[in-house]
């Protein structure tokens, strides 16, 4: 049995570990950079000027706070819990990704790094990075698997419009994991002038903690907003988990509130016994991209490709803090299939006039299991991490004449 900690919010330890997860599994070339980043971030987070600059941009450029919206018709539809949506899709660039990118770009500026690199799967993180690089006049290089470049053409064009160089990655399986490998190779080759802006709560320490801190604004706002709206804390939280940054951002401020139930939703693709991307539910602990976490791999420890209809969730790993929250039992990780996600995508569009990202639709897909069984005064928050405009062509093609 895993020992319950006194606080679920105190991690990582000084070695960058959440229990056995996390760490710094990188080549020596990168170690000095990672240690310098850790130090620079520690200094920045204690500098009121850094925080003030970030707050200003969050308000005036990103458009925060994002609303906590009572989804009245969705609530009526399920007839149970009172459902709120945290509207991260209303942020500039259309997803939660910008919260993290802003923090890292301001840090890169403090560190005097003129060149930013990033990996992207669906393109949301790439677009957010390209956007802030344009805003601050930084050179931006985005690595994207060649397969993803083909299926997310509009985001590729957006990045280019914003002045970024998009490099299609032809190695390995040509998807997000290979884009991450290639970004790490770039960083190894350009350590002195380059800042690696990782898009999720994964990678070597300090990235999982740093990205979590930047995304925690989601949960912190939710806490305040729910107090204002209902005079108390929410009873449950629901978010999709690929790498898991939107989920960690919502969850983390509530980890030490034992009355708050926490649900992450992984993508089970065609099903857990078939092609999927559910690292916690269908993988086991291993080491990839600088940290120990749940990973999809074969018996020989070779990484397997994740599959999900959502390009933002088909990563074969997950943030190490999620692995730890799963093992300790503080959070529960469910799964939603491609079909369930598409069903939820349509449902939210029709009932609330909001087209969700296919990623976020995985969280919405579990409402049918969770919401009806809760009393009407149960306050449930779903993180609407991104908008679905980018997914409309894909869903239209999938539904054919039915759309």
């Amino acid at each position: 049995m895993t020992i319950k900690p006194n606080s679920f919010r105190s991690g990582p330890d000084e070695d960058g570990r959440f229990g056995i997860y996390g760490g710094r599994f990188v080549a020596e070339t990168l170690m000095p950079n990672i240690l310098a980043l850790e130090q620079a971030y520690a200094e920045a987070r204690n500098d009121p000027a850094y925080q003030a600059e970030m707050d200003g941009h969050l308000t005036h450029y990103v458009g925060r706070p994002s609303p906590l919206y009572f989804a009245e018709r969705l609530t009526e539809h399920f007839g149970g819990a009172k459902i709120y949506l945290k509207r991260e899709e209303l942020n500039h660039t259309g997803s939660h990704k910008v919260n993290n990118v802003l923090g890292q770009i301001l840090l890169a500026r403090r560190m005097g790094k003129p060149r930013i690199i990033a990996e992207t799967g669906a393109g949301s993180h790439g677009v957010a990075t390209a956007t802030l690089c344009a805003r601050f006049g930084l050179k931006c290089v985005v690595y994207m698997g060649a397969v993803d470049v083909a299926r997310q053409a509009s985001n590729v064009f957006r990045m280019k419009m914003l002045g970024a160089e998009v490099i299609p990655v032809e190695s390995g399986t040509k998807t997000l994991k290979d884009a991450l490998n290639e970004a790490l190779r770039d960083w190894v080759s350009n350590v002195s002038d380059t800042f690696y802006c990782i898009g999720t709560v994964a990678g070597p320490h300090p990235y999982p903690a740093m990205v979590r801190d930047f995304q925690s604004i989601i949960g912190n706002e939710t806490r305040t907003q729910m107090q204002e709206l209902e005079g108390r804390l929410p009873d449950s939280l629901l978010a999709c988990v690929g790498g898991g940054s939107n989920a960690m951002g919502l969850f983390h401020p509530f980890l030490d509130d034992p009355t708050v139930e926490i649900y992450g939703v992984e993508a089970s693709g065609h099903g857990l016994d078939k092609l999927h991307a559910a690292s916690i539910n269908g993988g086991r602990p291993g080491i990839l991209h600088g940290n120990r976490t749940y990973i999809l791999m074969n018996d020989d420890g070779q990484i397997e490709e994740g599959h999900s209809i959502s390009a933002g969730l088909d990563y074969p790993g997950v943030g190490p803090e999620h692995s730890w929250l799963a093992d300790t039992g503080r959070a529960t990780y469910l799964t939603a299939t491609d079909d369930e996600a598409v069903e939820a995508f349509q449902l939210l569009s029709k009932l609330e006039g909001i087209i969700p990202a296919l990623e976020s639709a995985h969280a919405l897909a579990k409402l049918k299991e969770l919401a009806p069984h809760k009393p009407k005064d149960h306050l449930m928050v779903v993180n609407l991490s991104g908008r679905g405009d980018k997914d409309v062509p894909q869903v239209a093609e999938l539904l054919g004449g039915k759309l």
Binding site: R24, V188, G301
Partner: protein
């Protein structure tokens, strides 16, 4: 504890000759062909052999070694078979030092204790695991040293004087100096700078210093060997393997010779450095 690596470097030092360290991927292009290549290396001039343990996501390697690993995996190579190839090699060669080189995940999944026991039993002498910096020594480095295997660490141009002692602390066998800030098989390094870096490392340790990444020709080998104790060549050798294959990535009658010819050239290059230096 003295390993074959220690013995070999001591003998070469006495001879006044630099070592040629050759890297090839276990199982590329297939198990048998790979074993044939390994067996032919010492006679061609390899003093130490690094055997790559293929991994699907080699984040510090350039295209040639990535492709080599994928060919091996496609041909059915596993970590278990890589330990087997060590043991098959040892049936006819009990002297040439063998270093297993790769990434941590396959070893972690195999089980650290089981891996160390079997690697020793098979006849391996040392390990290079790219994604285990000193900060993660408790994972594999310390258990490996305890078990009697060398743990060879990479030092890089970014490893400054302040950090170098930390990197060298639990390193044994030799130190592997990465000549470029980059991935394997990258651009040719600045050999004058490499010479200064090797001298810097030697101020901190008595261990032999090997230099690799970007060494492709006999001239490069000669340039490196002027100051270093060993020259490491990898990408150029796996490229020689690739170029010798048929359309379906199978070995041909040219494969072993393609590798041994290049090794012989590199070996001559490395030896020439000291001959010139002695004049």
């Amino acid at each position: 504890m003295t390993t074959r690596i220690d013995t070999r470097f001591a003998a070469l030092k006495a001879e006044g000759r630099p070592a040629l360290v050759t890297f090839v991927m276990a199982g590329d292009p297939g198990y048998e062909a790979s074993l044939d290549i390994l067996k032919a290396l010492p006679a061609a001039g390899a003093d130490v052999i690094e055997i790559g343990m293929p991994f699907s996501d080699p984040m510090a390697d350039g295209p040639p070694i990535q492709a080599s690993g994928l060919r091996a995996l496609k041909a059915g190579q596993t970590l278990k078979k890589t330990l087997q190839i060590v043991s098959d090699f040892r049936k006819t060669d009990n002297e040439t030092p063998l270093v297993l080189m790769g990434y941590y995940n396959p070893v972690y999944v195999y089980g650290v204790d089981k891996f160390l026991t079997e690697a020793l039993k098979a006849g391996a002498d040392g390990l290079i695991v790219v994604d285990l910096p000193p900060e993660e020594d408790a994972e594999l480095c310390l258990p490996a040293l305890e078990a009697g295997l060398n743990f060879i660490r990479l030092a890089t141009p970014t490893t400054d004087d302040k950090r170098l002692p930390r990197v060298l602390e639990n390193t044994s066998g030799f130190v592997y100096y990465v000549s470029v800030t980059g991935i394997t098989g990258s651009a040719t390094p600045d050999f004058d700078e490499v010479g200064r870096a090797v001298a810097r490392i030697k101020r901190h340790t008595d261990l032999p210093v090997a230099v690799g990444f970007g060494v492709k020709t006999a001239q490069h080998a000669a340039a490196v060997a002027r100051g270093a104790d060993a020259v490491v060549v990898g990408s150029a050798l796996v490229e020689a393997v690739r170029k010798s294959l048929d359309n379906e990535d199978r070995a041909t009658e040219k494969t072993v010779k393609a590798v041994t010819d290049l090794v012989a050239e590199l070996s001559a290059g490395a030896r020439s450095a000291r001959a010139v230096a002695a004049e």
